[in-house]
Subunit: 378 residues, 2 copies
């Protein structure tokens, strides 16, 4: 039996498309934004509110979960869905990115990467095979190959050598996945190549030769700037097979999402809505607000009158009071409202694509964000 | 028109009684436990979950709200109920207790107390009249007279002199209340007298001569120990008029509540369920648990299988993981579960009183708590 998920494109508008991915735990409508549930929780949110906000799928971090509470423990407790009270699809990353950004005393060789846990200092080994084993223990519906997320900046030679290692790991990841995964689960390859268009093309074609259920674009939003990012997205998405979902990792602002959807991207993840929520910032249909700003102290307007989110019905004056007082409810309400804004943005994008008016929709959102008070955008 | 709330005793079992208080914003079933919403939020809880947990009424702190965001501001925004999205009854304290425990550079005289705000250092005056003005601006359904919470320990002379000042302030509070309050709102006097039974009696009788809608017992749970506390509760409750609600301020553990209900107390407030929730402790029908304890790392049991609270359905292993990881969701779930446990405790107490079996119910709960693992009770 071949594990695989299915992807259907329902409508296309320019390079933007809307469709659905069918996984063992349900359907993901695309374009999709995945809230990040790093440590088996989308920070400061009840899981039922993540679902109520409209999220079809969330992302969990292999690195964090293998260190705490441990993948074997989660498997024994019935898998990640059950552990964190989330019945819908879950995508797990491979852990590679966090090893490079969080772990100490790394040693990287052909076999994999050995590192010291940032939690208890123990020595941990992550290989392509172990990354898949962990993701299968968690029971992830969509799994990612282990790759080396090429640091930025990188010379052409560094990027090429890193990419070659990632390709060998991708092949080993696929072998491990087919030996372990359950029917319906899927595995995505990850395109690397830094900001070099020819390397991106080389990486994409080599991954397509191996063959994956979907293709991610990694190593972007790491400091290269929006223009370079969008160029790499455009070059890469144009090569990737149209019958597979395309996932831009770690992106981004509402504008980044719309510009990337216009270039053919189907999936995103980012900590931005939740992290911003914990830092007093709100994404709304009238732009970005910083609730610490004194102008909101007496403002009886709901956070976002255009949003259907229960949290967005709270008045700005109250939210200002909560964040000034350091109350947990401030983070809870802003995280909820932001996660739902991102979901509403994706829902409207899907509708616009289906109706063939995506470009004007994206321009309308861009104008709303440009008109928002610049003092609030900090 | 005379502002007043109404209290009906429905059943009595020994000195314990069950009834209902009717306020402008709805009915409060007694015995009632009021979750504490210090800064216009019950910490780490959505207001709709506080209501779903079964709370008929919550307590808000005059001291905190007059300093931030300000009583006049809340009044302009439509009052405290609207500000904090809580439509049910609210009781406010007078601010006196917090002035003594939180404010710096206090100066207390016949007129009132002047202090330095712990938030911005400004000089603030709290008199009996201002305490009532603030509570009326907030729109509290049940208001408290300004008193001096006698520190513990206090000599008989100190306690008497403090009590006398509080009585003069109680009279001024009542005058101010009748000039300002809206129909249906109520004012409670506060019995002081430290651990001196004759002073408690003197205080209670003097307050009854002034006449209030209800009577609180203050200045307890401040270090005098459970036996002394219960003795003062028993002495005082026996004197207070049976047709008025009796409120024991700042208490306490589940055992304290049941022992006080047995002595005729109708209302309580305490930060214990929410503060414990933020410190990894859970009140359950099988006793108190400390979720940081390693024994829960692999425990698939729901937090409290006997509770109807959605938060109590989460497995102990997951809660252990959340609190070990410092995740906000841990505090959110434990606060919710604890607040609901306290409400379920009150609901069962009301039923037991109505059925005439309160003593055996209280003994059953005491035994459950005594049987819980002592290591978890820290």
């Amino acid at each position: 039996m071949t594990p695989s998920l299915t992807f259907n494109v329902l409508a296309q508008d320019g390079s933007a498309r809307t469709g659905s991915i069918t996984t063992p735990c349900g359907v993901v409508r695309t374009p999709a934004f995945m809230p990040v549930g790093t440590g088996a929780t989308v920070k400061a949110m009840f899981p039922e509110d993540v679902a109520a906000a409209g999220a079809d799928i969330l992302l969990a971090n292999t690195y964090h979960l293998m260190l705490r509470p441990g993948a074997e423990r989660i498997a024994k407790l019935g898998g990640l869905h059950r552990f964190m009270h989330w019945e819908k699809p879950i995508l797990t990353d491979s852990g590679g990115y966090q090893v490079m950004s969080l772990a100490k005393l790394r040693r990287l060789d052909e076999r994999g990467v050995t590192f010291q846990s940032h939690i208890d200092g123990s020595s941990v080994m992550l290989s392509p095979e172990r990354a898949i084993e962990v993701q299968c223990l968690l029971g992830a519906d969509i799994q990612m190959v282990l790759d080396e997320c090429t640091p930025y900046p990188a010379t052409r030679e560094e990027a090429k050598s890193s990419l070659d290692l990632s390709l060998r790991w991708a092949e080993r990841s696929k072998t491990a996945f087919f030996a372990r995964a359950k029917p319906g689960q899927g595995l995505f390859g990850i395109v690397q190549g830094s900001v070099y268009a020819d390397l991106r093309e080389l990486s994409a074609r080599a991954l397509m030769d191996i063959g994956f259920d979907g293709y991610a674009i990694g190593g972007l939003a790491v400091g290269e700037g929006q223009a370079a990012m969008l160029e790499m997205v455009e070059v890469t998405a144009a090569i990737l097979p149209p019958e597979c979902p395309r996932y831009l990792m770690g992106v981004g602002t509402p504008e980044d999402l719309l510009l990337s959807i216009a270039r053919g991207i189907d999936m995103f993840d980012c900590v931005m809505p939740t992290r911003s929520g914990r830092h007093c910032q709100a994404f709304t249909w009238t732009g970005k607000l910083n609730l610490r700003n004194a102008r909101y102290a007496d403002d009886p307007t709901p956070l976002d009158p255009e949003s259907a989110c229960p949290a967005a019905q709270y008045e700005r004056a109250y939210l200002h009071h909560l964040v000034k007082s350091g109350e947990a409810l401030g983070s809870m309400l802003l995280s909820y409202a932001n996660v739902q804004f991102y979901q509403e943005l994706m829902a409207r994008a899907r509708d616009a694509i289906a109706q063939g008016c995506f470009a004007s929709f994206a321009e309308d959102v861009r104008r709303r964000y440009a008109a928002a008070n610049p003092n609030d955008d900090d």
